[in-house]
Amino acid sequence: MKDAADRIVVSGVGWISGGRGGGRGRRPARIPELGELLRDPELFAAPPRNFGRFDAGSRIACCVCALALKDAEPGGRADRTGLLGTNENGCLETNLAYFRDYVQAGRKLARGNLFIYTLPSSPLAETAICFGLKGPVFYWGVPGASGRGAALAELAGLAADAVSRGEADGMIAVHADERAGMGLVLRRARGTEPATWSLPWVRDRIGQAVSVDAMANALCGDAGGGQAS
């Protein structure tokens, strides 16, 4: 068996689906609106600056990360925590929103507040700013992945490798689009933490070991708007 220091564990999980949001520390699941999450001082020390301006994907990514970080134990968020993200559509919706607005304005004046969300990495950048994450941040598109869970599991593997190589103290892997999202907090194992917490296994809220793939699919629903726990 590997030394604890060599093992990477999932220390926090958060999800939002169909308007529901949760984490292992939030059971039974509630049905909060995102605004309710923003007012929760356990999730946000202060409401994120400019949250009202965020595009839908950025709102979900930010709230999912808040839930996952809260779910991770105290100290789970180090200064050099990074954030990797994925989704299915890149930024097509925000591209359309920005360009339609520009065309409707007579192709004379674009709106910067819409332009800044025309990158797949924009939701990650907003989230990193919100939580002061200074580690690696980038978008990883996984075309043809068999569901959100598969994409998130691959992303979690990349994130774990980055922690193993010492490129970050911790990483968050998040799958977020306009309707749903799930995030995992990863860090090095401490002491005698059970092996079931090591990737690709995490424990669901009733204590059963499930794969990241299965968990993401169950919680977020591959069709979007699936039932939360």
């Binding site: 990074g82 359309l96 674009a110 332009f115 950048a125 700013i129 190589r165």
Partner: protein
């Protein structure tokens, strides 16, 4: 641990096809800017861009496919089919957005690129704003160092589109007279377009296949400023963190870096931030340059274009001039030059990029 070698690379920029043409253009110290005629710029902040000659809108394909098709066709046969394709771009085929929105999705572009390369499996998209291709090179190198892959093909592209020029205009980020990185009177950037690829390979496989190494990606570092969506951190600490990580990853002390290819967009804040970052890491001025006064800011492709040219710089032992530099910003004195600078004995070079959201990436390269 396996070294990551660059065994094939090519590019197309406003200087035309090939690294040699671009290198000659850089050494001339002149900008390759011209007037945009693809769309009406009358209401936009600048009419200038670094445009690839002979690239024109064509209803049968996107602009970036017009760049990538000939580039990758020329390389056919030299790219192994088992190489994992990493596509780095900011907006890809966004010129299709009005006529065929779904076709502008990045996964569609990736599928087309994989077809051109006859790749055996679907590739991946890496996007980190204007540090996208630097991040892709870092991920590719990490997959090879970790022995998860033997070969990774990084493909990068972005084109000059109305979408992009209007967007940067809305942020008042363009210099109507052309970008002047590290100049005292710089006012903003000039958009450019480019496509490039680099085939990364493990040292062992490159030896087996008797491939000639163009250089090595010896180390990498990625960081976030966690500061602002469009403005860099004022103190440069985020970029400094990425540079220190890259040096650690390469096991190269700062004093062995012989030149720096800076992001150098020509905006007031970016260039100032970079200088602060480098001054935190390096004890003395190092020959530093930006190519964006010559080939413009090629966005998602910038990092790969700059890496290929930094390898050229390592081989030639010359740091190219910072084009369009008229009056050096006093903050940049002794770091940048409007003329080429000899760097005899240079063993390693640093290249850095930063993008929207404060995403930073740094690579340490060896010849």
């Amino acid at each position: 641990m396996s070294r990551t070698l660059v065994v094939e690379a090519d590019l197309v920029t406003a200087w035309g096809h090939g690294a040699a043409a671009c290198w000659r253009g850089l050494l001339s110290g002149s900008p390759a800017f011209s007037e945009i005629r693809r769309f009406d710029c009358a209401a936009l902040q600048s009419r200038l861009a670094a445009l690839v000659p002979e690239l024109h809108p064509d209803p049968s394909r996107s602009l970036v496919m017009g760049l990538l098709k000939p580039l990758l066709a020329e390389a056919a046969g030299r790219i192994p089919r088992d190489a994992l394709v990493l596509l780095a771009t900011t907006t890809g085929e966004v010129d299709l957005l009005e006529t065929a929105p779904a076709d502008s999705r990045l996964d569609r572009l990736l599928a087309r690129v994989c077809d051109l390369c006859q790749a055996r499996e679907p590739g991946r998209i890496v996007s980190a704003a204007c540090a996208s291709s630097t991040a892709a090179l870092a991920v590719g190198a990490s997959l090879i160092r970790g022995k998860k892959r033997e070969a990774v093909l990084v493909v990068a592209c972005d084109a000059v589109t109305e979408f992009i020029v209007a967007g940067f205009s809305s942020l008042f980020a363009l210099d109507p007279d052309g970008a002047r990185p590290f100049d005292r009177h710089r006012k903003g950037l000039t958009i450019g377009e480019a496509a490039a690829f680099a085939l990364l390979m493990s040292e062992e496989r490159a030896a087996r296949e008797k491939r000639r190494a163009l250089g090595e990606i010896a180390g990498w570092g990625l960081s976030g400023d966690a500061n602002h969506m469009t403005g860099p951190s004022r103190d440069g600490e985020g970029l400094a963190l990425a540079v220190r990580q890259a040096l650690r990853s390469a096991d190269v002390p700062a004093e062995r870096i012989g030149s720096i290819s800076a992001h150098g967009t020509g905006t007031l804040y970016n260039d100032s931030m970079e200088l602060k970052a480098f001054k935190k890491v390096f004890q003395r001025p190092i020959p530093m340059y930006s190519i964006k006064g010559s080939v413009g800011h090629t966005m998602g492709a910038a990092g790969l274009v700059e890496t290929i040219l930094a390898l050229e710089s390592l081989h030639e032992q010359v740091a190219p001039p910072t084009a369009n530099l008229r009056e050096v910003d006093p903050e940049a004195g002794a770091w940048v030059s409007p003329a080429p600078v000899e760097t005899r004995g240079m063993e390693a070079a640093l290249t850095t990029n930063s993008g929207f959201g404060g995403l930073n990436a740094a690579l340490v390269l060896k010849a």
